[in-house]
C-alpha cells in the first residue's frame, strides 16, 4: 500500500508553504523508503476528515498533524520508520522539549514574518497561495489563514508590523481627536506609513520586542547545535524535521521586509548553515510545476493532485458560505468533530471517544441556546416594531391612497405579519 501525504502546495522554492507540512515531508524523506509514499499537493484542508493539513492517507485511514503522523508511522512500520528509536532518555527529553519550543516560538515568528507584516503578506505570501490554489479557494483560504495568524500573534502586541491595524488605530485616534474638538480637522496630517519607517522611527519599542523574540528562539537553538551534525548526535531525529520545516520558512523566502532572515543569520550563523544543508538534503530544488506534473526530475515523489470537479467547487463554495454564517458555523464545526470521533478508524480508545462525544453534546446545547437567543431577539424586535407601529406606517400609506380615514385596522394587520414570520 502506498501512503499518500497530502500537504499545502509548494511555494518560496520550498515543497510547501506551511511549516508543519514541511516538517512532515522532511520526516518522510528521511525515514520512509521512496517507493512507499507519494506526495500530493492537494492544498485543500477539506480532503481530510479533520480539515487539517498535513494529512496522511492509507487506504481509508486518515491521520493529520505532524505528531500524529509520526506516531502512526511508528505503529504502521512496527518501529522501522521511527527516527527517534535509538535516542537515550536524556536525548528523548531534549527532543520533546525542543520540539514544543520550536513549534510554539517559531510559529509565532513565522506568523509575524509571513502574514502579519503587511508588505510581506501582500507581495509574497498571498501570491504564493494564489499559485497553488484553485478557484474559488484562492479567494477563500488565504484571508482565513491571514486572520488566524493575526489572532495567534495578537498577545505579542506587535501590531505595528500590520499596516491595516495601524491604519485602523490611526483612524480611531483621529476621530477621537476630532470628536474631542481639540484639533481642527484640517490640521491633522496623514503620514504615509510603511513597515520600514514604522520599524525605523515610530515604534522603537516594537523593534526591541522583535529583537527579544528572535533572540529567545535562536540563542537556545544555536547552543543546541554546538558543533554537532544533528541536534541529537550523528543521526537525524524528528527534531531535525521540525527544525528544518520551521526554520527554512524563516530562511529561504525572499521577502520585501526580511527582518526574520536577517536576525537569524546574524544571531545564529551555525543554525542557518545547518538549515540550509538539511534543506538541500531533504527537499532538493523545488519548482512549483513539479507538484502538478507528477514531478519528473524532482527528488520528492510528487503525484499530481486531482483537478477539482464541478461538484467539489460547488461544495467548497457552499462550505465557505455556511462557515461564515454565525450559527450555522457552530453547528457545522460540531458535526465535523462528531464525525471524526465516532468513525471507528479515528484511532481513539473507547473512553476517549466517549469523552469527546460528551463534549460534542455539550456543544449542541450551546448551539440550541444561541439559536433560541437569536429567535427571541428577532421576535422581540418584530414585536417592538409592531408595537410602535412601523408596519402601520406602510399600512397607512395604502389607506391614504384609498382615501380611507380609519387607522385602526393597522394593528391587527401588523400582528399577522409577525405571525406569518413564524413566531
Amino acid at each position: 500500500m502506498v501512503l499518500e501525504l497530502h500537504v499545502w502546495g509548494p511555494g518560496f522554492s520550498l515543497p510547501s508553504v506551511d511549516a508543519q507540512c514541511l516538517a512532515t515531508i522532511a520526516y518522510f524523506s528521511l525515514a520512509v523508503p521512496k517507493d512507499s509514499w507519494v506526495l500530493v499537493a492537494s492544498s485543500d484542508p477539506t480532503v481530510s476528515p479533520t480539515h487539517e493539513l498535513p494529512a496522511l492517507k492509507n487506504g481509508s485511514t486518515w491521520v493529520s498533524r505532524f505528531r500524529n503522523i509520526v506516531d502512526y508511522l511508528r505503529q504502521y512500520s512496527e518501529g522501522a520508520w521511527d527516527l527517534d528509536r535509538n535516542l537515550s532518555a536524556h536525548d528523548r527529553a531534549e527532543n520533546i522539549a525542543f520540539s514544543s519550543f520550536v513549534e510554539s516560538h517559531a510559529q509565532a515568528l513565522l506568523d509575524l514574518s509571513l502574514y502579519v507584516t503587511s508588505q510581506n503578506y501582500y507581495n509574497r505570501t498571498s501570491p504564493a497561495y494564489g499559485a497553488i490554489l484553485q478557484w474559488p479557494n484562492q479567494w477563500i483560504l488565504p484571508p482565513q489563514l491571514h486572520a488566524a495568524a493575526k489572532t495567534r500573534t495578537e498577545p505579542l502586541g506587535l501590531s505595528s508590523l500590520d499596516l491595516e491595524a495601524t491604519e485602523e488605530q490611526r483612524k480611531r485616534d483621529h476621530s477621537a481627536a476630532v470628536a474631542a474638538g481639540r484639533i481642527p480637522q484640517n490640521f491633522i496630517s496623514r503620514p504615509r506609513e510603511t513597515v520600514s519607517n514604522l520599524l525605523g522611527k515610530s515604534s522603537q519599542q516594537h523593534q526591541f520586542r522583535l529583537e527579544a523574540l528572535t533572540g529567545d528562539l535562536f540563542v537556545p537553538l544555536e547552543e543546541l547545535l554546538d558543533g554537532k551534525t544533528h541536534p541529537s548526535g550523528q543521526t537525524p531525529s524528528s527534531l531535525d524535521c521540525l527544525l528544518v520545516g520551521y526554520l527554512s520558512l524563516a530562511l529561504v523566502p525572499e521577502l520585501p521586509h526580511p527582518w526574520l532572515r536577517d536576525s537569524m543569520q546574524r544571531k545564529a550563523p551555525r543554525l542557518s548553515q545547518y538549515v540550509e544543508r538539511m534543506r538541500q538534503e531533504v527537499y532538493g530544488t523545488v519548482n512549483v510545476s513539479d507538484a502538478f506534473n507528477s514531478g519528473a526530475g524532482s527528488s520528492l515523489p510528487w503525484q499530481a493532485p486531482e483537478r477539482a470537479s464541478l461538484a467539489s467547487i460547488g461544495t467548497s463554495l457552499l462550505t465557505s458560505l455556511a462557515d461564515s454564517t454565525p450559527i450555522l458555523k457552530d453547528i457545522r464545526m460540531n458535526n465535523r468533530l462528531r464525525e471524526a470521533v465516532e468513525s471507528p478508524n479515528a484511532g481513539l480508545s473507547q473512553v476517549e471517544s466517549k469523552a469527546v462525544s460528551q463534549y460534542v453534546q455539550g456543544q449542541g446545547k450551546d448551539i440550541l441556546l444561541s439559536v433560541a437567543t437569536v429567535v427571541g431577539g428577532v421576535a422581540a424586535l418584530v414585536g417592538y416594531m409592531a408595537h410602535t407601529g412601523i408596519f402601520s406606517a406602510a399600512q397607512e400609506e395604502e389607506k391614504k391612497e384609498k382615501e380611507s380615514e380609519d387607522f385602526q385596522p393597522a394593528m391587527p394587520e401588523s400582528m399577522s405579519v409577525a405571525d406569518a414570520l413564524g413566531f
Binding site: 500524529n68 532518555a89 514544543s100 516560538h105 464545526m333 476517549e352 380615514e405
Partner: protein, 299 residues
C-alpha cells in the same frame, strides 16, 4: 403604545411622500424627552474606586491577590489557579512574606490575577502585575534570575506554557464532568447566586478556553492534547532525574514553582476531579510526584 407626536394623530399633514422617511427616522432617533434627560449627564463625576479592601487586613504586609476561598487564604493554602499558584509558590520559595487576598479578575489592574500590592513604599502602593513579579522579587531579596543561568529554562518552560497548559484547559473547562464538578464550583458559583448570571459566566469561561485551543489548531483533539501532555511529563521527569529540584539547584525556584502549579492541582484530591487522565499520566513518573510532595511542605 409609545406616544409619537409626529405620528398618525395629524392626518391632515401632506404630502404623503415625505411621511415615510420621516417615520423611519423618528423610529431610530432618540425621543426628545429622553434626549433632554441624557443632555444633563454626567450629573456628578465620582472619583475612581479604590482597589477592593480585604476587611480582615490592616494593610501591613505585602498582599497577593489570587483565586482562593476565604478559609484557604487565612491558612495560606495553595490557590486553585495554576498561574496564581505559580507566583504564590515562587514568592514562598524565595522567602518573601505576604498575605493572601481572595479576589477575581475584575479586581486586577491588568485584568488577570495574580497581582501584588507591596507594603513598601507606603502610600504609593502601585500594584505589581504577574509579569513584573519576578523582577520585583529579585529587587527585594536579590535572588537569581534563573532564566539567565540555564538556556534550557525557556525551552522546558515551553512544555508547561503550551502542552501542559492546553491539556489543562481542555481537562478543566471542556471536559463536561470536570467543568460541572470543579470549574463551576471554584470559578462560577462564588461570584454570584443568580442562576442566569451563573449560566452566562460558565458559557463564557468555556468559550474562552475553546477559543484559546482553536487558535493553534482547527479542531480540538482531546487524545492529541493528552498524548502531548504525557510526553511533556516524561521530558520533565527526565530533566528532574534523581535531584531534589530542577536544574540541580539547592533551593526551589521559579521553574519548580511553575511545575508545582500544575502537578499539585492535578494530584490534589481536594479538587474533586471526575475524570482525571492527567493524574494517571503524571503518576507514572514517581520523581515528579515526590517533587510535588516535597514542595507541598512549604505550605
Amino acid at each position: 403604545m409609545a406616544s409619537n407626536p409626529a405620528g398618525h394623530d395629524v392626518p391632515e399633514q401632506r404630502p404623503d411622500s415625505r411621511r415615510v422617511p420621516r417615520r423611519v427616522r423618528d423610529f431610530f432617533s432618540v425621543p426628545a424627552p429622553v434626549k433632554r434627560i441624557f443632555d444633563r449627564f454626567p450629573l456628578v463625576t465620582y472619583p475612581a474606586n479604590d482597589l477592593p479592601h480585604y476587611p480582615g487586613s490592616g494593610r501591613q504586609g505585602n498582599q497577593l491577590f489570587v483565586f482562593i476561598d476565604a478559609t484557604g487564604a487565612r491558612r495560606g493554602r495553595p490557590s486553585f489557579n495554576p498561574q496564581c499558584l505559580k507566583w504564590q509558590a515562587y514568592l514562598k520559595f524565595v522567602g518573601i512574606d505576604f498575605e493572601l487576598v481572595p479576589s477575581n479578575n475584575h479586581a486586577s489592574p491588568s485584568g488577570a490575577l495574580p497581582f501584588l500590592l507591596p507594603a513598601l513604599p507606603i502610600g504609593i502602593g502601585a500594584p505589581i502585575p504577574s509579569n513584573k513579579l519576578q523582577k520585583w522579587a529579585i529587587e527585594e531579596v536579590h535572588c537569581e534570575e534563573e532564566q539567565q543561568l540555564n538556556v534550557r529554562f525557556e525551552v522546558y518552560s515551553s512544555l508547561l506554557d503550551n502542552r501542559i497548559r492546553s491539556a489543562w484547559l481542555y481537562h478543566l473547562y471542556l471536559n463536561h464532568d470536570n467543568f460541572g464538578a470543579v470549574a463551576r464550583r471554584l470559578y462560577v458559583d462564588p461570584s454570584t447566586t443568580n442562576a442566569a448570571v451563573r449560566a452566562a459566566l460558565a458559557a463564557q469561561l468555556q468559550q474562552a478556553a475553546r477559543d484559546e485551543l482553536l487558535k493553534s489548531s482547527p479542531y480540538i483533539d482531546a487524545s492529541a492534547l493528552e498524548a502531548e501532555a504525557a510526553e511533556a511529563f516524561e521530558a520533565l521527569s527526565t530533566l528532574l532525574g534523581q535531584k531534589d529540584y530542577f536544574f540541580d539547584r539547592p533551593n526551589p525556584g521559579l521553574f519548580d514553582a511553575s511545575v508545582f502549579a500544575y502537578t499539585h492541582l492535578i494530584l490534589d484530591e481536594k479538587m474533586g476531579w471526575k475524570y482525571n487522565r492527567l493524574q494517571q499520566l503524571l503518576s507514572q513518573h514517581k520523581n515528579l510526584v515526590q517533587h510535588r510532595a516535597r514542595l507541598l511542605e512549604f505550605f
